[in-house]
Symmetry: C2
Subunit: 80 residues, 2 copies
């Protein structure tokens, strides 16, 4: 079973890396970029076959390792 | 207009960071994790209003800055 986890910074948390990318895009001539926020993606392959159990397990992985829940949100999507 | 860009390593490209995460998950007691691949997410806000033009512009940003197209794939999704 495949799953995708997307980890993004919570609103209000500063994102210097995103700001740097925004500046670089402007420097390259891309106008109209109002904001850039960078996050992380984890593509997981699991041996589990039950999507409900797999999602619960992945949420536990997020809480323990994949995301820093003080400053980050995560979203789990079972792909199939 | 909001858009999300997901940048992932191409198949066959080594991902030591993903492998480290896979090892850590096993160390934490999560069984059945067959593979972990890490990628990047960029959440963009653009002043553009036409989704087709915006998507083309973002694809140009990916080619120039956001992705290394030798080793990475990218996917652009207009969120609204």
């Amino acid at each position: 079973m495949k799953a995708r986890v997307i980890v993004t910074l919570k609103a209000g948390v500063l994102d210097p890396q995103g700001q740097a990318i925004e500046g670089s895009l402007e420097g390259l001539g891309f106008a109209g970029v109002e904001s850039v926020r960078q996050g992380k993606v984890f593509d997981l392959e699991l041996s589990a076959t039950d999507p409900v159990n797999a999602k619960t397990e992945i949420e536990r992985m997020c809480e323990k390792l994949l995301a820093n829940t003080v400053i980050e949100n995560y979203a789990v999507e079972i792909i199939g």
